[in-house]
Symmetry: D3
Subunit: 252 residues, 6 copies
Amino acid sequence: MPATDAPPSARPDARPSGRTADALRPVSLEPGFSRHAEGSCLVRMGATEVLCTASVEGRVPPFLRGKGEGWVTAEYGMLPRATHTRGDREAARGKQSGRTQEIQRLIGRSLRAVTDRAAMGEMTVTLDCDVLSADGGTRCAAVTGAWVALHLAFRHCLRMNIMSAMPLRDQVAAVSCGLWAGRPVLDLDYAEDSKAQADANFVLTGGGGLVEVQGTAEGAPFSEAQLLELLRLARAGTAQLFARQRQAVGLE
Amino acid sequence: MPATDAPPSARPDARPSGRTADALRPVSLEPGFSRHAEGSCLVRMGATEVLCTASVEGRVPPFLRGKGEGWVTAEYGMLPRATHTRGDREAARGKQSGRTQEIQRLIGRSLRAVTDRAAMGEMTVTLDCDVLSADGGTRCAAVTGAWVALHLAFRHCLRMNIMSAMPLRDQVAAVSCGLWAGRPVLDLDYAEDSKAQADANFVLTGGGGLVEVQGTAEGAPFSEAQLLELLRLARAGTAQLFARQRQAVGLE
Amino acid sequence: MPATDAPPSARPDARPSGRTADALRPVSLEPGFSRHAEGSCLVRMGATEVLCTASVEGRVPPFLRGKGEGWVTAEYGMLPRATHTRGDREAARGKQSGRTQEIQRLIGRSLRAVTDRAAMGEMTVTLDCDVLSADGGTRCAAVTGAWVALHLAFRHCLRMNIMSAMPLRDQVAAVSCGLWAGRPVLDLDYAEDSKAQADANFVLTGGGGLVEVQGTAEGAPFSEAQLLELLRLARAGTAQLFARQRQAVGLE
Amino acid sequence: MPATDAPPSARPDARPSGRTADALRPVSLEPGFSRHAEGSCLVRMGATEVLCTASVEGRVPPFLRGKGEGWVTAEYGMLPRATHTRGDREAARGKQSGRTQEIQRLIGRSLRAVTDRAAMGEMTVTLDCDVLSADGGTRCAAVTGAWVALHLAFRHCLRMNIMSAMPLRDQVAAVSCGLWAGRPVLDLDYAEDSKAQADANFVLTGGGGLVEVQGTAEGAPFSEAQLLELLRLARAGTAQLFARQRQAVGLE
Amino acid sequence: MPATDAPPSARPDARPSGRTADALRPVSLEPGFSRHAEGSCLVRMGATEVLCTASVEGRVPPFLRGKGEGWVTAEYGMLPRATHTRGDREAARGKQSGRTQEIQRLIGRSLRAVTDRAAMGEMTVTLDCDVLSADGGTRCAAVTGAWVALHLAFRHCLRMNIMSAMPLRDQVAAVSCGLWAGRPVLDLDYAEDSKAQADANFVLTGGGGLVEVQGTAEGAPFSEAQLLELLRLARAGTAQLFARQRQAVGLE
Amino acid sequence: MPATDAPPSARPDARPSGRTADALRPVSLEPGFSRHAEGSCLVRMGATEVLCTASVEGRVPPFLRGKGEGWVTAEYGMLPRATHTRGDREAARGKQSGRTQEIQRLIGRSLRAVTDRAAMGEMTVTLDCDVLSADGGTRCAAVTGAWVALHLAFRHCLRMNIMSAMPLRDQVAAVSCGLWAGRPVLDLDYAEDSKAQADANFVLTGGGGLVEVQGTAEGAPFSEAQLLELLRLARAGTAQLFARQRQAVGLE
């Protein structure tokens, strides 16, 4: 049966990666990668690598002072040669792009959605997510890895008696899905992302809730049915990511 | 029966605006507001007012040169006293906020999704969306008004024989929905938006397709069922906006 | 007599606008245009439209702290498509032009000249003057409209018992005059301004005093006699503007 | 008669400088101060010292290309310790103040008003006016000194056969006047300027024409009669400056 | 003999690291760390880790166009949490610090000193040196690692026939030395560097020549004899680094 | 003997300046040049002219508050036409170059190396070094002149009883040396510097100690022996500069 002999990618609607529609790339979450940070995680989704560090400071931004609550925020960056061709260094250009700001706002909101900020006290955790290698899905990888870094940082605070109860109420992870050759597929890499008809980033909690949905049609609009199929894939993908997160922080 | 005599807003789960869950605010689309622009529209959604102008230039950004395609882009701004308390003038601060950049990228993508850029030739249309008064939903109002401005600008180009076929393939409009006191409601104003459990911006086409979905949980995550209810409200709301757009450009 | 039948603009030295040398453009001062500001005025001089808002804050700049005096300052901006061809958005460029800064300094000085800052207490009023449509004379229109916005804001403070006496001691208004085809003319529009041999902006008080005189020769220098003729026109023009201001704030 | 023995400054309305109302400060124009510039002049008005250099380049700004005309422009700066207390270095702050931009625009316009730009060919002269010591009247001193630098630079171009006719059609010089204790006085120094009721900068040509008039009331508005008295003083003052300029460039 | 039992760091003049005066920290040069770059190397000197990538582009800066020579330049950055306490992200602050600029200029000069730029043709190689973990000596580690990245990038160009001869004429490596408790010691870590009386960075070539010497007294000045002792240590240290470089690129 | 008749510069290895290898350019240190500064010095090394001012303020940067120590810092600038062709004005460009920042850091470190900061109390002295004319060696001239300005400012503080003991413990001066046609020469001017094989800036104390050594190979690396020869020249040169400094401040 020749069809079964042909490599998956030879079929006209096959993904460039040869993965099945519902297959994640190889995932690795390496906790404690950073020497200095209170929590850190090097997350790899295939060739995408993001170093996430969580830095704890004993103060909050002005709008929260005196309210007894903490803050979780994020910054995102990409090394100039994380990409196929070298990009400008944002520090040299003198400003962060709109894309950078959009991503770091998303990361911050996602982690705050599962954090009990009252339990933090007046502390700030800054999540730095720096892309060492980019092959699609960097913002999703950053959310997934940042949760590990944040968990470790909070555990550090508990050990140091800076906090008395774990502020994280749930897990949070993210994955991008898209329409490839008309079919929904999970975890787009760069080659897939740049040719997808639509792509959607889903940020989900361990309990199954939606924290963020960002769906964008690149060409023709997509339908409600397609949005739901993408969401179904994202649920399956994040289920695997949640398991990896628990392993990384030693919860199972 | 005292209950029926009580104003709607007196009920514990009533919207602050007193509107029913599926009611848009009063909408007005005033075409041709700007004296100089090739196309323009002052859009009002309740107390939110956005001036949208479309400016046509006979060149494209470097990455498109020589490809025979056009470009549609957007810039967004807010007058310092469009809001309840005066905000910084971004020109004086020397940079645009992340929020501003995120919004102008959304507007540009939304309009490009219904534009046949090959039909434009090597022309650029810049949509300036400036908020004169803000009461929630400014980015959605901007998308809705920008479509009118863009339609008028393209008609100007057709009359001037700069283009030979209308590049707009469909209408596009946007509306925000959210969860208020646990119930899905349409077209959040500022008071509602600042207390909603979740809010979602939907950019839809006249043909019913989804161009952008941006859902964000502010507190607890939301469920798939809630996302679909919000989408159903958005469909009903944009149906009214599409009718207003057609009136504004004289299509019905 | 055919000559008298010819429209004024047909005469070789006629103004492009067809106005007589001492005619203002149609003037409109619309108070309360802004929903949120303590005081506001949309001022129109022909096709020039400037939205002026006055925002009150209960603090003063560092150099005035503890002196018991208030401060009045101004910011000026122009929507990108207020002009015939689209200009750069200053917020996107990351800085305000020299022209913008020069104009906002002029507006601030002009309003301070008629304000009793001791009567304000330690309060700051910021006048935002944003040009929605530009056809010459925007800085003068801004001064004239800002006075209305400031008056209304001070009345708001009196009603709120934030101030106990009206700090405005006089009216202030501005108009530009110029030499057109060798003759002094009042209230230059853009077409006239761009070809005038000289133009001068006069900021005058209701009592007839001079607050600012800014005369500039564009080509050949002008004479003292010409300067005085321009000033005479400005007196006549501002007399009309003062009447309009009083109507706008309900003083007559 | 004791009164005559008292020093002038002891009289209640005497100028702090002790000068008579129509007395300039000691003036010095030192041509050729800069080693590298095509033209230069160190101008001193009392304790105010400004180094003016004229730099010639064989190209024009984009808006003039291909029109066969030249351009004259100016930049202005102040050494941080030119003033009584050290000011910020604008290069370190990362932007020029509104005052700096206003002044350099004034200097540029003033010199262009006496330059036949067609006679320059497509050349640009940049006048750098850097204040080494500030004691009031720096912008006026800069205009006066810049004329000498520009004259010398044009002579250099004539000698080098880069230009074939002297583009300067007239002299231009500037002086500030003001109302001190109600009386008009010439050439304000810093102590006088900071307490004057009004001050006005006049830029005049050798032929007696007005190029710029910038009058500003600091407290009470001033009258037309006062403006004319200030202008009369400025005429007398610039007459002396014109003579010094001619000496400095060897015309008499 | 108690003295021999005591750990080295217990002696009053012992280095905090316990290393002997002439001991380098453990060194590792990991070539090919980056997926996309034409050449790359992750260099580790103890806890200092710097990712060096070499990016090749087929054009040169304007000042070199048409001269048939290439260019080698460097950019330097530090992840915000590379250090013990989190530092500002330079991209977010909007500018690179003076220290950053000084270091990237040093790296560029050092690599150019051993490059035959004529052999490159009109190509540019940009060396990005990003500090993942900082424990002193980051600029020296960057120079050492950048040589490996550059070597690999040039080899890539030779394989691709973009260049016909290896432009590197020699090796270059760097090490910092300092005076610790009055004694010269090799390869300062952060704890040593922050308390050294003097420190000096030496950039040396494989042939023994000096490319850069940057010696700085932190407290008391140092003597010529001390400078020479530091240089002797640097020679010994770089000899080991040269061997590691040759291994990393497969030259021995 | 014709050889002796030939001017020095005619010999193939003669310096362009005709100076002998160990000759400084004519040096002049003019104290008190600035009207306002607490200390100042105009330093000339041949055609290089730098105005150094020392400004005293009664506060220290945040990292020193409450420690009872003072701070000495420097800023460096160059007038646009200090050089042969006009350079950009850094204030207009909106940032200081890496070179500028590197130089001002060097000047600050050099002066701090001879200052007893505890003797200053919590005061800051800012040394502004502005290049009026550049012909090589501006950073070295700045260090030499800044010492004079600082000495005079400290004497002013002693006279005012702001300080009770002179905080300067020693003199500090700087000179650049280089390899010209293979031979070490002292005090490079611009023509020499731009063609030297290597150049080194030495900052030395009156007591003979080294504060900074910055040696850079421009082409081939230099040897240890050459570095020592350059240092020997620098010692001879700074000996003369120390004498001039003492004269300038009246110590001999």
